[in-house]
């Protein structure tokens, strides 16, 4: 279980990204967002759903290669590798 207290979401995504096959890409507008909690590498899909409960974000499934985290209702901006 990965543990985070007040970490930038960008750093969390970068850490989680190491454990999944698809790239997780965080919108640049969310770079200042901080996260607290845990992430189970075996259950990243539920963690992504949980993000939609705690932030105003939506998870966009881009198929076999990418998952994007972007502001809800907003157009996707500059891509930032997690």
């Amino acid at each position: 279980m990965l543990e985070f207290v007040g970490q930038p979401l960008e750093a969390v995504v970068e850490e989680v990204d190491r454990f999944v096959n698809r790239r997780i890409i965080l919108a640049s507008a969310l770079q200042g967002t901080r996260y607290t909690g845990t992430v189970s590498p075996a259950n990243v899909s539920d963690w992504l759903q949980a993000l939609q409960q705690i932030y105003s974000v939506q998870i966009i499934d881009e198929g076999a290669d990418e998952i994007r985290i972007q502001l809800r209702g907003g157009a996707y901006d500059t891509k930032t590798r997690g």
Binding site: G37, S40, A50, I54
Partner: protein, 446 residues
């Protein structure tokens, strides 16, 4: 389960010649059902008991530690917890209880995401009842007042917030929730009049507030700080207005829906049975006593005072409305006699007693919504978990394996709208099948 238990009990009382083998089968079936129910509950990771040793620390660290000790995945926006401290937690707890203990008095609540993940966020339903009730001794049977924090800026806790009084559109049901039999079951479990599982007769008019001077909803809430009591009443008024139920606009009207938050609901319920029933002129109170279950088992108990119809329906004075009966929210058996179930009957008054100890972990918004639905339809034994979600699932043990609704649902509102459809004050409600069709039209329109 209750029906199965009654069947088993009936079998036990048969003569020995009636066949001991049937008794053994009935007992085995009962034991298996109990074992199955227990196993289903134990499979829920939030019900798993864990030993926690969390020292006083920032809440963020405490939550991460609980995650490590319980194995559940916890997610929270740091901005929601970074300013909060935890007093720590030590001992054996179900994971759900440990979470609630850590989040107590924070204005935060958790929602489940999948089997082993929870997201923590600001409580949508407002503060928990425990935060409003203060500390009360076990012998304290009176009101349990408290006040919201006066200076939230100086506190380490966020201010307690009222949820919206206005009724906002809930999420639409899924296709799976609108299964073929789901709506029919939902209706049965939201209105028991003229229905008995043993008789199986889901026909006839349902009970509702008919309107007119004496049969128009006028709520009054006691037992909480005035602001919160008024919120509970206001929420009931808002739901009533939203679904088209008759509701008094005068804030100083004579109350006929009395909601009491108390640590001794049994005493209040008993008073209504012993004294109120006689004062109201309820017929056959000694007979009704056999049918009514007053216990400390349920967090919210209640009485419905119902009135007969016929030529008396236009009387403005309830004393002249005929055929008054008392019916319980949790009856020992659901009465099926024509006297209390005539199709022209209506709701004349409602008394709801809320056990503040048992609802301490629920938000005031959730409890207010539960009370609103219970006050607007004569519902009996609301201990179900139908495919279509309802706020009445809030405390249903049978819902242990799925998330319970924490606010009035689209199904609740659709049912109540159908119940009060074309409520002219005269005549019956739609039939159950017509209500089902009406609900389907509403829910499909989302």
């Amino acid at each position: 389960m209750k029906f199965v238990f009654n069947c088993a009990a009936a079998l036990m009382t048969q003569k020995p010649a009636a066949d001991r083998r049937i008794q053994r089968l009935a007992l085995s079936a009962l034991v298996l059902l109990i074992a199955w129910a227990s196993a289903a509950r134990a499979d829920d990771v939030l019900e798993k008991t864990v030993h926690v040793e969390i020292a006083p620390a920032p809440l963020a660290n405490a939550l991460v530690q609980l995650s490590a000790e319980s194995g559940i995945q916890i997610a929270v926006a740091d901005v929601d917890v970074s300013h909060l401290q935890s007093k720590g937690l030590s001992g054996q707890y179900a994971v759900r209880d440990a979470l609630q203990a850590l989040l107590k008095n924070t204005g935060l609540s958790f929602v489940r995401v999948g089997a082993t993940t929870v997201a923590i966020r600001a409580a949508a339903g407002g503060p928990l009842v425990a935060e409003l009730s203060g500390k009360s001794s076990p012998n304290d049977t009176g009101p349990t007042p408290s006040s919201p924090p006066q200076d939230s800026a100086a506190s380490t806790q966020p201010s307690l917030r009222f949820p919206d009084v206005a009724v906002l559109a809930p999420r639409a049901p899924t296709v799976q929730e609108l299964t073929s039999d789901g709506l029919a079951q939902f209706i049965i479990h939201h209105a028991s009049t003229r229905y008995s599982a043993s008789v199986g007769s889901p026909t006839g008019g349902l009970l509702r507030w008919r309107g007119g001077r004496s049969e128009t909803v006028c709520p009054e809430t006691d037992g909480l700080d005035q602001d919160y009591s008024e919120f509970v009443s206001a929420r009931l008024r808002a739901v009533a207005a939203y679904v088209g139920a008759p509701v008094q606009t005068d804030g100083h009207c004579g109350s006929n829906v009395h909601i009491l938050f108390t640590t001794d609901p049994r005493r209040a319920m008993q008073w209504v049975l012993e004294r109120g029933a006689h004062m109201l002129g309820v017929k056959f109170p000694h007979q009704m006593g056999k049918e009514l279950d007053i216990s400390n088992q349920h967090a919210i108990q209640g009485w419905y005072v119902t009135a007969g119809g016929g030529s008396t329906v236009l009387n403005s004075d309830p004393q002249f409305i005929g055929g008054i009966a008392l019916q319980a929210l949790w009856p020992r058996v659901i009465p099926t006699s024509a006297y209390v179930n005539g199709g022209d009957r209506s709701i004349l008054a409602v008394f709801l007693a809320v056990d503040t100890n048992k609802v301490a972990g629920y938000s005031i918004g959730s409890i207010a919504d539960y009370l609103a639905v219970a006050a607007l339809t004569l519902v009996q034994s609301p201990d179900h978990c139908d495919p279509l979600p309802s706020i009445l699932d809030l405390m249903a043990p049978s819902c242990a394996s799925r998330d319970r609704s924490t606010a009035v649902t689209a199904g609740d509102l659709a049912f109540l709208k159908a119940l009060y459809y074309r409520n002219s004050g005269l005549g019956r409600t739609l039939s159950r099948s017509a209500i089902e069709n009406n609900m389907m039209q509403q829910l499909s329109a989302h």
